[in-house]
Structure formats: C-alpha cells, structure tokens
Symmetry: D3
Subunit: 252 residues, 6 copies
C-alpha cells in the first residue's frame, strides 16, 4: 500500500526525479496507548495521513520518525508507563534539523511535517525556525497535526455518545481508536476497550510526576463508541483540508 | 511594594533564613504588545502574580526572567516585530536549569515557576524534567501560568462585550490590558487602544513566517472593554487558586 | 511477519511483560544503493536480522532507526547522491543514547544493537560507552553488524564468479543484493543490475569530496551473480552466530 | 526614574524608532554582598550606570540581566554563600549571544554591555567574539565595567581612611557600599557595616573551595568610611568617561 | 631535528611567510603500549611522519595533538589500562574543528592531518566534513594514517617470523615497535619485549568492557622480530607514498 | 632533560606506580610573541615550570596542551596575528574536563594545572569547577600561573631599566624573553629585540578588534634589558613558591 509514494522504496534516481515535489516527513512516537492499542499508534497515524496526502498531491513520503518527544501525563500518560520511549527535546530538534538540511541539499524546497504526537510540536518548530533562518525564502517548511485542520462540525458526529474531552485528553480515546480501527484493525484489541473514567484536568505541571494523577490503564478518556466508520469520517474530513494547506502554503 | 518578599532586596543571611519557604521564579518575556502596551507586559504580570502569591504563602520571589522563548505569530505576533527579543529554546532551558540547581544547592526544595509567556512552557518544562530526574523526591518543582487556574465562569464576565478568542489570541487583548491597567496603569497608553480586527486562526505552522498573517498592530484580539476593574477580578479569582496549588503541590 | 517480536505492535502491558528479554535495536540508514536497490536497504537488513534473531532468542525488536550516520564515498557512495540522508555524528549518538536510557528505565538490561550501516559504528559505540559508564554492571550493551560474524569460509561460496572486494566496497553489491533478493525481492530491480566497474581504493580521506572518485551508479562493486539463494546462505550462516553472541554476552 | 530610556517601558513602535541609538545591556548578578548589602547590588549598579549613560548619550537600556556567572571566592565570596546564584559560563555566554542577535535583527548596530560583576567578563567577551565573527563590520560591540574607566586619582579620595585593596577585593566594600548609599540607600543596612578583616590574597585557585579562606561575613575588604558622597564622586568621575567611550567606539 | 619545519619554533612572521605551503597536523594519543613502549608512541609516530613529509614537500608541521579519542580493547587495549588517556569523541572533533578554522583564518588552504591512532579517524573526519561544508572549494583537507599507504608487498618482509595479525591488532606489536626502534630507540625497553599470545578477534562490541578479553600486558600481537631496520623499511616505503598523496590531493 | 618526570616517556606500568603523586598538567598556547620569540613560548614556559616542579615534589608531568584559549589584543596581541591559533572557550574547557576525568579514573587525586597563557584561566577554572562538583572531596585540583606566586620584591630587580607595565602587557616582553633566554636560548632571535613602544591601556573591550590599537610587532611592552640571568632569577624565586603551594594544597 502506498508503494509509489514511499521514498524508502525508491532508488536514488527515482527519488532525484521527484525533487520538485512536496517532501512529507511523518513524525510519530513510541508511546503507551492503553490496553487496547499498540505502542505504534502515533507512528501509524502520521504515516497513514502522510501517504494519503502524498497520493493526493503527488508528494514523496520520507521514512517515519518512530520515536518522539517526551509523553506528558495529561496528554499521553507520561514517562512512567513501560513502552513509552521518550527522546529529549534537544535530540528530536537536532534530528529534525539534520533531516531538513539533507532534504534541502538534495534539492527539495517544499517540506511538510505531518505530526501525530502532541508533544513533538515545540521541538519540531524550533528546528523549523532555526533551519528556516539559514534557508531564507528558497525553502518552505510546514507543520500540521492531523487534528488541527479537523472541521469543528465533525466533533459532534464523533462524540455522539460521550462528550468531547479536548484534544489533549483524546489519547487512546475515540479519535485515535477509530483511526486505528480504520487503518489497521488487526492492531486493535477491541475486547480490551473499557469504559474507564478519564483523566482529570490540572492547572499546573509538577515534578516529580504523580503517577496517581493518571488512570492506571493509560487511557485518558473513554474509547467507547469508537468505530472504523468514525475513522473513515475523520480521514475524509481532514484529508481535503491537508490538501488545501499544501496548495496554500506551497503555491506554484 | 512587595519589598519583604523579593529575594533581590534581601541580604544573604535573610535569604538563608527562608530556605524552607516556597521559592517563586517569575518568568516573562520582552515582547511586542501592540501600540498601547509596553514590551515588559509578560515580565510585569509574572512578577505581580509571583509577589502576591509570595505574600499569601510566605514565599520568596527570585529576580524575574525578563527574556523568554520565541514569540510565535499566532500567540504573540512573532519575531518580526521590533522589541520582541527571543531566546532560543535551548538557552531558556539551560538558564532555568542552572537556576533550579542553584536554588536547590542553597537548600530550597519547593520551587514554583510563575510563567506569563505562553511560549515558554515547553522549554521550562524540559528543564524541570531533566533537573527533577537528578533531584529525585527531595525537590518539588511546579509551573503554572496565570491563566491556567482561572475559573471558567469568569470568562463570561471578562468577555461581556466581545467574544473570548481563546487564550493564544489573548495577546495584548482584554485580559493582559486589564491586568496592566490594574497593576501599572502608568504603562498603558489607553488612547492607543483601537478596536482592531483580530488574527485569524491557522491550522498549521509555516516558515518563513508570513508577516501578512498577523495584524500589523501586533494586537491579536481586540482590547476594547478592558478595565482596571476586570484586572482586579482576574487577580481576585486567580490568586486563591494559586495559593491552593501551593498547598496541594507542596504539602507539609 | 515477525508480528510477535515487534515492540511497535505490542501494547504497553505486553511490552512490560518482556522486560527480562533481550531488547534488539535495528539501526539502518537511508542511503543510495545503486540503480537496482531501494534507499531502505540498510534499514531492511537491520530489521530482518533483528527479527530473526529475536524469534530465535525470545527477544523484542524496537522500531528500526531508518536514518544513520553520513555515508562515506568509499563505503556507501557518499553524500552527493540524492536520497542519501545523513545524520551528523552527534545526532545519531544522542538519539541512541536517549533510547538506551529509556529501555533501561523500562527495566531492560540486555540491549543488542543490530547494525547494518558500516558508518554508524563509531557513533553508536560512543553512545554505548558513555551510557555504560552511567549504568555500571547492571546493564549490558552489545553491538554487532550482520557481516561481522560471517564465517570466513562462506566468502568463497558467495564470491564464486567475482573476487571479494572487501567489506567496505560491498555496497549495493553481491551480499546486499542477495540479501534483498531473499528478504524483499519485490524491492529489487534485477534488470538494472549492471556489471559495472567498481570503486578504486584510496589510502586517504579528502574534503571536498571528489565526485569522480566514485562510480556514477553508486554501486561500489559488481552485483553480478547475486541471488536469493546466496542471501539465504548468508542468513543461515550468520543467524546462529548472532544467537551465539547473545548467549555469550548476556549469560543467565 | 529613567523612564524615558528603559526599553521595557516602551511600546514596540517607540523602540523601533530608536534603532540608530546605542543599545545598552546592563549585566549584573545575584550574589551575596555581606550582611549590610542586598543580593541585587551588581544588578542595581549595572542598571544605574546604564541608565545614566543612556540619558547622556540618547541611548536605550534593555532589561538588566539579573543573574551572572559564578562568583569566585576571592572576588565575590564564592558559591558557598546562600543567595549567590551562579550561572554556568556556557549559559551566560549563550544568553548574551541570543540577545546580541536579537538586537541586531531589530536593526541596532551599536551595542554597549555595561557590566558590574567582575566574573562575567570572559563569558560575555566570548559571546561578543563569536557574534562579531558573524556580524562583521556592520555591528560594533563594546563592554565596559564601571570600575575600568575610573580615574586613578580618585582612588586616593575614596580610600582616605583605609588602603585600596585592589579591585577584586572591592566586594561589598567601600566602592560598592558607597554607590549603593548614593543610588538606593533604602537597601543598605548601615548598622551592619563592621570593620572586619578582609580576605587574604592567594596565588592559586583550588577546588574544592576552602570555605575558611573567605571571611565568614562575605565582605572581602572593609566597608568602613563608605558614604553616599563617595558614591556621588564615583558616578561623577566615571560617567563622563563612559560617555567618552561611547563617542570613541561608536563614531558617526 | 626537523627544526626548520616545526611551526612552534617559528616566529609569527616566519609562519606567515609559509601560508601557501601544506600545513601538516600530527594527531597521536596518550595510550598504553605494553610493557616495552612508552605512552607517547602514537604522538611520536604522527610527529615523525609529519616532519619527514614536511621536509620532503616544503610543508609546515603544527604542534602535535598528544591526546586522542578513546582506545578500544581490540585496537589499543581499551580504557582500563592506566596511562590510556581518552578524549570524548565530541572533544576531539571540536578541537580539530577549531584548529582547522584557525589555520584557514591565517591563510592556509592545504591541510594534511597525519594520524597515528586508529580510533581517531571517525571524529577527525566528522570535523573535516563539517568544516569543509563551510569552507567550500577554497580549502582542501586530507587525512592519512601512516599505515594506509603502506605497500602490500612490504607486509611479507615485516612479518617474516610471525603472521600479520591485521592492522587493528598491530598495537605495540612489530610495526609500532620497529618504528620506535628506528625513531627513538632510547624510549624502547627491548628487554621487556615478550613473545606473548595476542588478542583474539571478537565479532561484536560489548559494554561494560571485559578486561579478560585483552592480554594483561596490553600488547595485542607479538612484538618479537621487531627491529630498527624494519622501522627504516616502513619509513622508506611509506614516505614516498605520502609525498604522492600530497601531490595528488593538493595540485598546483 | 626531565626524562624521569614526563608521563609520555613512561610505560603504563611505570605511570600506574605513580598514582599517589601530584599529576601536573602544563597548559600553554600557540601564539605570536613578536619578531624575536617563537610561537611556542607559552607551551615551553608551562612545561619548564611543570617539569622543575615535578622534580622538586616527585610529581608526574602530563603531555603539555600546546593550544590555548583566544589571545586578546591587550594581553597577547589578539587573533589577527598569523600563528596565533585560538581555541574556543568551550573547546578548552571540554578538553581540560576530559583530561581531569581520565587522570582521576587512573587513580590520581592531586592535579596541578601549570598555566602559562593568561587568557586560559577562566575556561580552565570552569572545567575545574564542574569536575570538582562531581569528584567531591576525594580529588583536589589546583591551578597556578607562573607569575602569580612571584615575590613582589623581584619586580624591581627585573625592571631595573624600564618600568613594569603590568602582567597583561608582559607579553613577549622582559619576563617571557628572559625565561626563554634561560630555558631555550636557541629559540630566541636576540637581534630582533627592538625597543618598541608598548601598547596603551584601554578601559573597554571592543569588537570588531581595532588592529591599530596593538603595536604591529606584537610586542606589548619592551623586551629591552631581558637576559638569561633574569630568567634564572625568576625561576629561582618562583619555584620554591610553587613547591610551597603543592605542600599547602595537597597536604598528606
């Protein structure tokens, strides 16, 4: 699937021939997603959105970054869950910076970062900022999370049985579970979806982290009522918006 | 004002005598705040909340960090406005880390970071995370922004004439202007408050930054209907919550 | 394939249950491999050997590092080929270091780095050295390349039609092509294998790099006489040796 | 006081209008200054000289850096006194470097660093050196300490009752105490000035630091005979010299 | 000896006059070399080859780097021997980078790194790579180890009594001992040369390092049959090749 | 000369046997010293004082650091003279830090840094500070410059024909020239000593550096009246003081 857009499957000559296209870099994480979802959720979502976008706009998808910045308690359950493998901020930033530099050296000037892990943003953006200062106007860098361009009106349809808990708490919950049921149902343990009580908001950050403040399952809001159909709805709503961003941000 | 809580006014012996107290570090920024507010808004707000909190809980306020992390277009107008002086993320992180280490070496074990610049959070938290891994349980670090503990119900009273644009766009707008009118009215050019059109949301980050995407005044949402009275309302609602956080996070 | 050993497909609880096992980290590269092989060769080889080893020893395979250290002209064709995406040494080192730390925090004490990109070694080893100094005796770190444990006697069987050019020049040549034909034949463009003249050795490093010193195809030694059967021979000879290393290096 | 020269009180438009002026960055420290002086002495002195200089030359004063490089035993009492908050050298250097870059990006080309903490010099100068290599001739950076341009003949008048102990030992002693009595008498505990024995010189540096080598008060030479009048004498002698430096170093 | 080529003995004016010449930087190590050789072997060899090469090509020899990157068990005995003083990779890289920059600032454009410590290569080359990216075509950097250009046919004459163990194991063995007997016989304890059993190869790297895997003398292959005459043979074979490299790499 | 104290001439077993001794690290520079002195002056002076001190106290002398921190205009002539090879501060600091760590790992607990280049101090001391924080009380680190312990009364005898210009200006002047005449007369071009006008003091640092502010010879104060005899006087006065420092700082 998506064979024709994946850089990793191309020879260097095939890749070289596409250097005027949009280069899409999917960025995920390796992070706990409760008892019913695998550790690769963010990597899978980033790669799926990236490949579908690439198909739509004739882009190229670079190998996915499978490790991301530190999971935070109230957006991903935090570092105390085994399987949550956290990079330091400086490491992710340097990794992204090296990759941008190399894509640019190979002649690409339109770089789209497709992110699926909430916590990655600030360090990816710091890399974009510092690289862009060196590139000037000849290179355009864009970052979008898959949830950012989601139409407001869709929220109601997705959260028809339970209330929308806000994006930070949508971890291993309805949107991620539905997308995984749509993209890779073989990786979802549906029988382990429980209608657990979600996390409670907290108006401050505290270290050392209180493990008690997070549901012991790692699920921050209920995944009940997730479905492949809802996953499809999200993709069909978000993808055209991503295509639109590409059109706007990389004109000509 | 606040003479008795400011570390900078103490001798070393006076400071030493307080090492079992909460040490509060205000973190602001030097950043454009439209035609009607000075560059020091975030530093003033951080320091004011810090000093009032210190008075309430018997804490000590360290010298304010007057420079913060990079202003972003849709939360502070971005780097292209003169007077917006941006630190790199690594610099702010290292600065905070050195300070935490030094307060801990002096015997303090309760450190409260009072932040007033939206963009600072991820790099301050990265410093907290890395330092806490070295300190273990003997030191507690807490970060709160002044807007985080604000009661939901207050929003309606503050935004009685114009709609609430979301916290990111509340830059040089009603809450910041009202707080400055309450804390330091001599620094507000009320005659320059104009009822400008605010910024439009954008579901992605892009570099190089489009200057056209931001209102040319640097005001991201209207400041119309700001008042010292609204500033007072905010302080009176937020302060007890901050005191509560101190009580919860640093028990005993 | 290999579903049961891949960390990314596990939930956090499944992963936690395996923390006394060997954790295998495959490290590859995104690098030109001539006109007939895709950019992912090193990543595929690292992952294939890692998964087969994990099956044999009951280990867990972490997500593959798809980007590696800088390709050098006389071991990978060098940086001037499009599609060769090079990390700085410090970046790869920091990335590996963060990952080791996280696996150790999750309770793993036996870490095996399965490398397939010649140039990665020094920076992975530097990370191992610095991390091990912090871990002391409670954690064992092992690195092996797939070619290191290859029995000497196999060389003659693989190089039955052309002479063995040495490991550095075995880039996009017989061993890599044969392994790809065995592991992932759909990714090999057999019709593009040409019996080109290989690279000439050079007793020094020089910058700026002379592009003329490298065959323009990126193939450093002929791939003629490659076959899936030779790939199978390599795997069947190397795998038992890797199992033996695991037994020796992580006793008990 | 000094309202009109302080950047922090300006709006961004007011600041922008001054970009052809001299930008003065005061750099202090948070450091013990004996039983009679507050921790902010170096910050106050740096800011006072900066503001007075700015008034004289039409310059702009950026927010003071309140934290400086590590206090050394025989120039500031060293790190073992509570209230002495030390930045690492690399942190101060990076902080200064970021600020220079930002002032230059805003259009300023004449930057004057007004330092009041002896130990800051090497790391501020390293930042100046590295930044200047990037700026070339279009930006001029100058650093002066307030004691550097002091006329030799003034020493006799200041040290009329006790001998001049050298600048390194003039810590919490006659010059700093007199300046604080002149600038901010409300911060001086005059009753706590004791005629203590000063520190003894030592021809080497040693770690770990011997606490016994430093007077337990933190005062390195007697403050006896300090007066606001002596403070005024210093200011009246030094200020014209600073103005002269500005005229010489930033011609035209 | 070699007075006329050593930079350190020149005045600045003499050095300036040579800026169109080849600048040769010898890089060694401080590392155990068994019971019969001193810790300076690699530094002496680097400097001797550098000076002889400089005489032959009219070059200038910069002060030798006496400390190198970490000794590895199977190429130098590893870090556990006293007297083996290891730099971190990042330190050697930064040191080399600073030196290249300075030689280039002084007008030199032909830089030859004469290395004599196996483990230094990757970090010296990383420095060359990063510096060269900044210099572009106006500066040429070359690195050669003294053993790289050795003619294959010489191996047989040197290893007339014992088999050639491979370059990695030639540590404190025949080639190094013979060269030291030729260059600096007063530093060789010939009576302590014992015909010890050498190290055994190992197809993987492991941390923590097994001290038992290395001969307790630190000699990785026998030094028996070493002689000053063999040292002379090496020099007479290698030197013309180094001269040839200079001619090829720095034409015109 | 000094064969028995130089670490570089020892085997690892000889070095190991001395681990309870004082380890002396000479730190110099490669820096212009006018038309009459070679670039190695600071390295020679550091090594000579180190070896004589080692003989007197039974210490061991590690290989000299031949490259130091950036020369400043008014203490060494500055970076614009060819032959002045400047390390960045961070590089020297990291280099020293790595060496301290390695000496300590080898069992040494008494480390004496013998410095001969004025500008090195702050970065060597920063390394000492950071390392000592890790070592605690079990390791003692001392730094002395050769001029620091010089008896005041000797100044008059050395400056019998010309006035003492202060230590910063004693660059390529009477003390350095006399010491070189005593230690290594073959490296001094006596015929090129001219009675030039020295540098003028300046109460501020400025970048870009004004080349005109420094005498074009690079000599900051006259070397007239230098003699080997004066060199001998310095050594005979300073050496006993250095021995005394060793006795005081490393008791027992």
């Amino acid at each position: 699937m998506f064979e024709e857009v994946k850089m990793e499957r191309m020879t260097w000559r095939e890749f070289e021939a596409k250097k005027d296209r949009v280069l899409i870099l999917p960025v995920g994480a390796t992070e706990q997603h409760g008892p019913h979802l695998p550790l690769c959720v963010d990597a899978v979502l980033a790669e799926q959105f990236a490949c579908r976008l690439a198909q739509a706009v004739g882009g190229v998808v670079a190998p996915t970054l499978s490790y991301g910045y530190k999971s935070k308690p109230l957006s991903g359950g935090g570092p105390l869950f085994p399987g949550t493998i956290d990079l330091n901020g400086a490491t992710l930033q340097q990794l992204a910076s090296d990759l941008f530099d190399e894509f640019v050296r190979d002649g690409f000037t339109k770089i789209f970062i497709m992110n699926a892990h909430f916590e990655n943003d600030p360090f990816l953006i710091e890399a974009m900022d510092l690289c862009s200062a060196r590139y000037g106007d000849r290179v355009t860098l864009v970052l979008s999370n898959w949830w950012d361009p989601m139409p407001e009106e869709l929220i109601g349809r997705l959260f028809d049985e339970v209330p929308f808990p806000g994006w930070a708490f949508e971890h291993a919950a309805i949107t991620e579970t539905s997308l995984m049921l749509y993209f890779a149902p073989e990786l979802v343990r549906e029988e382990l979806i429980v209608d657990s009580k979600g996390a409670a908001p907290c108006p401050y950050f505290k270290y050392p982290i209180d493990k008690d403040a997070i549901p012991s399952t790692g699920v921050l809001a209920t995944a009940r009522s997730s479905s492949a159909e809802k996953g499809r709805l999200i993709v069909e709503a978000v993808l055209p918006r991503l295509v639109e961003i590409v059109g706007t941000a990389f004109p000509g």
